[in-house]
């Protein structure tokens, strides 16, 4: 990639700015609908932004409109996943990326907390076993944790 | 040819070539025949010119005279509506303008798609109404021949299939577009051998009528 960055790219600005393709607004309505449902029934909703017929800039506009809130989290599993609560509590953005930090999926999760942040039963069961072993061992040496792959 | 895309490529390819060739052959034969047979020699002294009044009539006969209008207003009004609608859909729809550009080399501005769409819907209804009137009016039904119904059908189907294709009401789209082009090809093939030739001969006939009056020195 470094070789490509040396190529001088001239961007001509002819005054015609980015057009509004109008695809962000329907998603916002969908989010509002889901947020209302969350409030009334407690049921979460997942909106997959992958298969939306976005025009150039629509996705950025949508994410920009949703903004950022108080919470930011990062999960390291098969690559980083960035999660943040938008400026609208209950509306989260979950950005799954692979080990090369390339986006693999982008979801809007309307929920009290995104599912991926919860600790899983299987992992908890595993943790009990390892903690027992850790307590039982003389040196109390740390065992390899799952993040050391 | 047995799959939608194969069907579309056949109608856009060899079938279109054949249809256009038959149309050209038929129409040229008709027109050359008409002009070569010509008119009977008129030995009377001409009292005026033929050409000016002839061309004038070509335009003025577009509007029905008051007597005709009084006798059958329905036919006159409905005829106007669906003829104009047909011409708008044919000539002012941008994909059709591209077609003419590719065949004739000429192009002209078109109308926005939703406008053409609305006009096409009106045309479809107009044609259906025309058929209904032909079937329900006793005089019209009595004088109608099989050719009248055939010509109605080959005129109606391209408009209908075009509307269906534009709205993607038939799937997959290559099938819808192929059907539309096929109905147009049928129209072209049938054209020179039926009263559809009025598209050309009506203007020739109007000229002749005007010319006759002009030669006699009366208002055309």
């Amino acid at each position: 990639m470094s070789g490509l960055s040396k190529i001088g790219v001239i961007v001509e600005d002819d005054g015609i700015g980015p057009a509004e393709w109008g695809n962000a607004l329907p998603i916002l309505h969908q989010v509002r609908h889901a947020l209302r449902k969350l409030r009334e029934t407690g049921e979460p909703t997942l909106i997959d932004l992958r298969a939306m017929p976005f025009g150039p800039g629509d996705e950025e506009r949508l994410v920009g409109l949703l903004g950022r809130g108080e919470v930011e989290a990062r999960v390291e599993a098969l690559g980083p996943t960035r999660i943040w609560e938008t400026a609208y509590p209950g509306v989260w953005l979950v950005d799954h990326r692979n080990a090369q930090d390339e986006r693999r999926a982008l979801h809007i999760e309307v929920s009290t907390i995104p599912a991926i942040l919860r600790s899983q039963d299987e992992d908890i069961a595993d943790a009990l076993i390892r903690l027992d072993a850790c307590i039982a061992s003389d040196s109390g040496a740390a065992y390899p944790s799952p993040t050391d792959v | 040819m047995s799959d939608p895309m194969g069907f579309l490529l056949w109608v856009k390819g060899p079938a279109f070539d054949w249809a256009l060739a038959i149309f050209a052959l038929g129409m040229f034969a008709r027109l050359v025949e008409i002009f070569m047979l010509g008119r009977q020699v008129n030995y009377a002294e001409p009292k005026g010119s033929e050409w000016g009044p002839g061309f004038k009539t070509v335009f003025t006969r577009t509007f029905a005279d008051p007597g005709t209008f009084a006798r059958s207003p329905f036919d006159v009004v409905l005829g106007w509506i669906w003829h104009i609608g047909f011409l708008v859909a044919l000539l002012l729809f941008i994909p059709h303008i591209e077609l003419f550009k590719s065949v004739l080399g000429l192009s002209w501005p078109g109308l926005p798609n939703p406008v053409v769409d609305a006009i096409t819907a009106i045309t479809v209804l107009g044609l259906l109404l025309a058929l209904w009137h032909r079937l329900s009016s006793p005089v019209k039904r009595f004088i109608s021949t099989p050719q009248d119904y055939l010509v109605w059908a080959v005129t109606f189907l391209p408009v209908l299939t075009g509307y269906l294709a534009y709205h993607r009401l038939i799937n997959p789209y290559p099938l819808a577009l192929g059907l539309h082009i096929l109905t147009v090809e049928v129209f072209l093939v049938v054209f020179p051998f039926t009263k559809l030739t009025h598209v050309f001969t009506a203007f020739i006939a109007r000229w002749y009528n005007g010319a006759i009056f002009g030669r006699k020195g009366i208002e055309s």
Binding site: A51, R104, D148 | D17, A21, M36, V103, P114
Partner: protein, 369 residues
């Protein structure tokens, strides 16, 4: 029969937590264009699923489909090869060559008889054509395909060449190239067309097969409806311009720079079914129309022969001028001949005309009602 670990087992062995596994399932659901709520169902299926053996046969192809697959990131090709499938033979990607490679192929086919997935890219000369047009290790494409199909559970034809014949089959088709589905009638054939297909579509179809063990719902061309069910036209972000009648007339004119519809520049979007308008290319970076180029219709059969790429969809395929001129001339001659004959007959009748007196006429009419 080789003992294969389930996907879950092989991921846990690599130290991937349950949470990581769920992330994988969520991404896979997205990849298969399934609603994200299906991630738990996918997790349940992947837990039980054994990595299928995959044999990839490349015939008359440009290797673009393999290139496309190696650009797919989700899962990464390494992940795909190591975890999701067992790619037992791919003569471009694999390290082995020559007889060793062919022996590996034959061994994999024997070990997994009836269970492996056969992926084919590139079209192949038909059974009646000279097999020398395309061979691998001296074996004709046709023979290799039929041997491969015999023990396969399903066949995935990747790319327009394998699905429909593609470029080798374009006029005049010198090798007599045919599509896979023209030759394989006894096993399910899934067509993943496109020139090349979007990488995520290839992996999405494989993922679907892995998760559910069955092919996804297919259209009349055996393409998965989930990716090929919508036309480009119906999902194009420039559609409002088409509807309003705002078209780019030439490249880089004002309309083109404003992002107007590319119909007049030859866009085949209305008759093309693919996922480019929604999934886009290079992990959602862009796609041809967004870059300002009309859609070629590359996922449709015979798109190479379907009229010029820069001719609008509504134009005929064959040059009309000479045909119309010749036909018109023939018509003029015919019409002229008819008119001349009629005139001659009239002149002859006039020459032979006999005068009739009024009394004679009245007498002949008296007998009539």
């Amino acid at each position: 029969m080789a003992e294969r670990k389930t996907l879950n087992e092989s991921l846990r062995e690599r130290g991937v937590s349950r949470r990581g596994f769920l992330k994988f399932c969520t991404v896979t659901a997205s990849l298969m264009a399934l609603p994200p709520s299906m991630a738990p169902a996918i997790a349940a299926a992947l837990e039980r699923a054994r990595r299928p053996s995959v044999i990839w046969l490349s015939f008359q192809e440009c290797t673009g489909c393999t290139e496309s697959l190696t650009r797919s990131f989700s899962p990464t090709v390494e992940d795909l090869i190591l975890d999701v499938i067992s790619l037992d033979y791919h003569h471009t990607l694999q390290a082995a060559a020559g007889h060793q490679a062919e022996a590996a192929r034959e061994q994999a086919m024997k070990d997994n008889h009836g269970e492996y997935i056969l992926i084919v890219d590139g079209s192949l000369p038909g059974p009646d054509m000279n097999p020398g047009y395309s061979t691998i290790a001296g074996i004709s494409n046709y023979q290799m395909l039929m041997e491969g199909v015999a023990g396969a559970k399903a066949v995935v034809a990747v790319g327009t060449c394998a699905a429909f014949g593609g470029l080798p089959a374009a006029g005049p088709n010198p090798t007599g190239a045919v599509a896979v589905m023209d030759l394989v009638k006894d096993k399910p054939v899934i067509n993943v067309s496109g020139c090349p297909p979007i990488p995520e579509v290839i992996t999405g179809v494989l993922a679907h097969y892995l998760v559910f063990g069955t092919p996804p719902e297919l259209d009349e061309y055996n393409r998965p409806k989930v990716f090929f069910g919508q036309s480009i036209h119906d999902r194009c972000y420039r559609r409002p311009f088409y509807d309003k009648g705002l078209f780019a007339e030439t490249f880089d004119d004002e309309g083109a720079r404003k992002g107007w519809c590319l119909y007049r520049l030859g866009c085949k979007g209305p008759s093309t079914y693919n996922a480019c308008a929604t999934m886009r290319w290079n992990s959602g970076t862009s796609w041809p129309v967004e870059s300002g180029h009309p859609c070629l219709g590359c996922s449709e059969p015979r798109f190479w022969d379907a009229g010029g790429f820069y001719e609008p969809l509504s134009t005929p395929l064959i040059a009309e001028g000479p045909t119309v001129a010749v036909a018109g001339f023939a018509g003029a001659v015919a019409g002229g001949a008819l008119a001349a004959m009629a005139k001659k007959a009239t002149a002859a009748a006039v020459a032979q005309r006999q005068p009739v007196k009024v009394e004679e006429l009245e007498q002949s009419l008296e007998g009539q009602p």
